[in-house]
Symmetry: C3
Subunit: 356 residues, 3 copies
């Protein structure tokens, strides 16, 4: 029997099955420096120990998305090695602060299966969790991917499609106990805008853009130990319909979050990702821009120091966001994403409030 | 009002105005490893803890230019986001040793303003300072940039052009108290040449070259959280007169310093940059070479263990330095930089002296 | 006399001569994070502090090949700056565990010299050793390189060709005292295969491939402070027979080892490299695949917890390994390496054994 691992195919999954993923990883200051170099991120709690300490953290905190990508990367070998497409995320919650020196490992449970009408593949729904070295759950998320069947003739399983929340409700939002927004000083970011200054319906064009080259996205994806072949094998991908390597969609999420600093500088922490969709593929050479809409402004129960903003951020490639009328266009009577829109992300951030 | 930040235009500056810059940054071993990977630097006090300790430092010290780029990067959003060109540096002094774990923040004061005759832009002169977490000033520098006006019809301010020293004098050179050149062992670099071995007028061709690709300069510049658009947005720059992304000039300074190890290996510390000029733009794919002239050899008051060398180092692209007759050529009766010369740097380094 | 260093030529070497190499280097968590980003390596003892501690190490250990490349990089300026080709390695032994924070320096002794019949160059054989900050020898290796003569008319030295072992014998294999394979948990890698599961003659195709871009191999090689010009100077290499920069062969060794995780996940440590040959040059844009053969399965004297596997791993570029009939082909009656085979590596790894 082969000792190598070619990943699971659709018919290898069973609802209720648990997958424990390989290679725990200690996240260090080295990973954090690389994350800054790869994204240009400037959110203060991840850049400076004194900034993190000034609002109650022990020390510098690991960027929410760096922790997510490391935890997510571990699931790829077991869940999406044979994926046709990563279809979506839901109910992503950032439960606990990750500090440099913490070691993460991940586990997944299959929560749904549905063969597609073609019979060639099916959708696999998983709930994944990441834990630190103390056994605390630090991250949880659901995602669904379309996975090839090994054998198209294999029988279809009973379809199970899980109910996933469209949004992480205020009651379920993780708000770190350590974080005291009352001590937050806008001098950290030089942006004066706090939670009270945002209103539902407001749109923010994040101005700057970022071009990604092959080494950028492949270094990021290797850093996360995500080993999906389509990001790394030019030789293989030349014969694919894309003709080249595909960028890890999570790198686009990171870029868009980093760009959103200009306009949302005091969104110091991501609490949840309500949903995310990679609308179009991204490739080396693309320049990414971002554009946000405030979907809702929520007070947090029992907290006068922090509020939450539910945001929709679009990632757009190779087009100034002001030239984009909307995320979608109508083609042949059918509504579809504009070809330059690569990411449609619905997420919730925490932002300090103005003192009483 | 827009929450995003599109930087200051010429008419937004006032002489005497103070700008406190965003996002303090803790420099870590991760940043230092990246600095080596991005430049190939081999100066020993930044590479090895025991080397730094052998001459009196607590531990490994952060490369002078890494600290400078991080401190400088913070000023870009407020000073040079709308720059036409970075015109020059003067009176750059490396005042205090920066250690991994130190957190830097930066402030600038406008010290001069002069509208250009075209009326479309003007020169802004700033003095910038970087401080560590103890409030110690670790770096200071002056620079001037040409900045676009938002409105060409806006009235010109009273011109103020500051007097800046052509050279940081010996009396003003920062010499670290911790550094004891008497304990320096040339086994660290395997170069036997110490301060006494150099003479004014001597020329040194640094032999090696270094090609820079897009990911190299953009990773470096993102690491420094310098967000000037022209380094990062291929989509934007395709329609510029360059047709492509421009390399951050500071990366060229770092490369040239790293290349100068071959010939100046025991120049263990930069004390000052007297002046610097980016003579021609640099782009991905360029191969950089370096060539130095010793301008002066200075004794340091009260120090028998260390001397200073004032150097002029040229950065040259895509041309062997031996093929370069001089930095300048005469074109149509006008003296101008040779098109392959990208950097003309006048700076002062510290070098151990031979024991008595 | 020139203060710059253009390396040694063939006639500069003498048998018995000792070369102490420049710039000691502290290996940090920053270097380790970069190593993961550059190779995608997932071997657990280098990725996670608790994983290393679970088998007896103080903390996370530095990847064997990262330590090797750093130690090797130091020798380049003195040994192979003027090399025509790196001909081979032998008797590479990984003697002691390297931890983050350890500082390495290297020394070499010339153990053989043989001028080639052309008279234009000759083979130089060196034994190199790397030491940590306590003076412990952590690595030792022999290699031979073909080096240009400065002056073709210089007289040939008496030929001395050292006897080098074809394989590091079991008795000479370094087995770390700290490492207790009895405590090893395959949950770390999710691969159930331990030493007993492998058999001599077994072949393993490592499935995944990895494309390398210019920034990847040059960042890696700069990280190792290896300053061989042919890896870095596009301007110089355009006029070479390759027409472009050549990839550092050691980077290919690292990639191939990282790829071998899929099939050899529990090969937790490299004990020795018996021999290595860079069969064909590698360039940016190449996609690397790997294919291993188990040459021997050795018990280790006095150890019931660990065994050794002697492996032959081929690095193959731009060709699926299943399309490769063998490493060699016959061209005009002469056996030679297949043009897509870039590395032929014979090495010995340690792997935990099943409990009694």
């Amino acid at each position: 029997m082969s000792k190598t691992y070619a990943g699971n195919f659709f018919e290898d999954f069973r609802v209720g099955q648990t997958l424990a993923h390989a290679t725990p990883r200690t996240i260090t200051e080295g990973d954090m420096a690389l994350y800054v170099a790869l994204t240009g991120s400037r959110f203060p709690l991840h850049c400076a120990a004194p900034a993190a300490q000034s609002v109650g953290f022990e020390r510098q905190t690991v960027d929410d998305l760096l922790a997510f990508h490391v935890a997510f990367g571990k699931t790829v070998a077991d869940v999406s090695f044979n994926a046709v497409a990563n279809l979506g995320y839901a109910d992503v919650r950032f439960l606990k602060t990750v500090y440099p020196g913490d070691t993460l490992h991940s586990e997944s449970t299959v929560i749904g299966l549905k063969q597609n009408s073609s019979g060639a593949n099916g959708n696999v729904y998983v709930r994944s969790d990441a834990f630190n070295q103390f056994g605390d759950r630090v991250l949880t998320w659901a995602r669904w991917v379309m996975v090839h069947k090994r054998d198209a003739a294999a029988p279809a399983p009973e379809p199970v499609v899980p109910q996933l929340p469209a949004v992480v409700s205020v009651a379920d939002l993780p708000v770190p106990m350590e974080l005291d927004g009352g001590d937050y000083d806008t001098a950290l970011t030089r942006s004066p805008y706090l939670w009270e200054d945002y209103a539902a319906g407001e749109r923010i064009d994040h101005v700057n853009g970022m071009t990604v080259d092959e080494s950028d996205h492949t270094l990021a994806t290797k850093l996360y130990q995500n080993n999906a072949r389509l990001h790394f094998e030019e030789h293989l991908m030349r014969t694919s319909r894309f003709g080249r390597r595909l960028m890890y969609g999570g790198h686009v999420i990171s870029l868009v979050r980093a760009l959103s600093f200009n306009g949302l500088a005091n969104a110091v922490r991501i609490a949840a990702i309500n949903g995310g969709l990679h609308c179009n593929p991204s490739f080396a050479g693309d320049t990414f821009y971002a554009w946000s809409e405030v979907l809702a402004c929520w007070e947090l129960p029992g907290r006068r120091d922090l509020g939450a903003l539910r945001l929709r951020t679009l990632g757009v490639k190779n087009l100034e966001t002001e030239k984009l009328a909307g995320a979608k266009v109508t083609v042949d009577g059918r509504e579809t994403y504009h070809e330059n829109v690569v990411l449609d992300l619905d997420y919730t951030v925490l932002m300090p409030r103005r003192g009483a």
